[in-house]
Symmetry: C2
Subunit: 172 residues, 2 copies
Amino acid sequence: MVEPHRSGCPINLTLEMLGDRWSLIVIRDILVGNRRHFRELLTQSEEGIASNILADRLKRLTENGLLSRCGDAGHKQRVIYSLTEKAIELVPLMAVMGSWGLRYTSASRELSVRAQILEDGGPQLWNDFMDELRHLHLGAPPPARSALARMQSAYDAAIVETRRPADLVLRS
Amino acid sequence: MVEPHRSGCPINLTLEMLGDRWSLIVIRDILVGNRRHFRELLTQSEEGIASNILADRLKRLTENGLLSRCGDAGHKQRVIYSLTEKAIELVPLMAVMGSWGLRYTSASRELSVRAQILEDGGPQLWNDFMDELRHLHLGAPPPARSALARMQSAYDAAIVETRRPADLVLRS
């Protein structure tokens, strides 16, 4: 098999660095769900990521400078993963991808809430969110407003909404 | 192997629909390079896409409603691929991905020009570009300004620039 030659296109290089979809799924879970340990990322995965795939992607993301890890390497459950600035700056990409998904995929209502908030909030909210991530992952000072709290409360409200028996309300 | 369960997250569904990186590379080449035939997409590929991968991705993108094809199915070289509205609306995603790549990958200068223009132009230019793509692919009226022409002339200028022997000028 002929190895495809490299190209210096920034879109291609981004896709090469992020790899397959699981890398972005893992970053999404750390970004939005603030899951920092292997076990949380494994057991709370909406997509049911397999343990070996998760381990491989965490390793690749760390090698590519998107995650940093600290803790005792001998105790897997004690390792804490943090986003680097490089990964935090994927927020606009996630937001735009979520917006496209809202329009062109059959996304579920409760899992669409955060994407909708990021779309509605636009670049200002994305910046607030990135500042909050810099606080949580890089030790920067806390931002004045919490974008995560705003997304979480909207998500919680949507969950309550979808669990209501009176689905008729939504159809009227 | 356990099949991962589906999730209704719009980011996950977008990644599932776009598949691996080759799908987005093919869309990029049609979007930016206006390559509409199999042969053009194959022979002009910066990344040296393999013929079987290109054929597979064109098929999948068509099945997923991102491309439409017309022409004589019996004559492969005669088939013309067009972007659908769904694919045209990937312009913001491409732009944001390009911006990230400009910062965090070692993109080559001449292949970074278009990404830089899309970043500088922001959502207004993305909209102009999408209008132009709707004209080229969906038969909509031509836009007042050509975003593609603007990107092409900047690209041509950058190519001339990189071919100059006096690289010292750039380092000073």
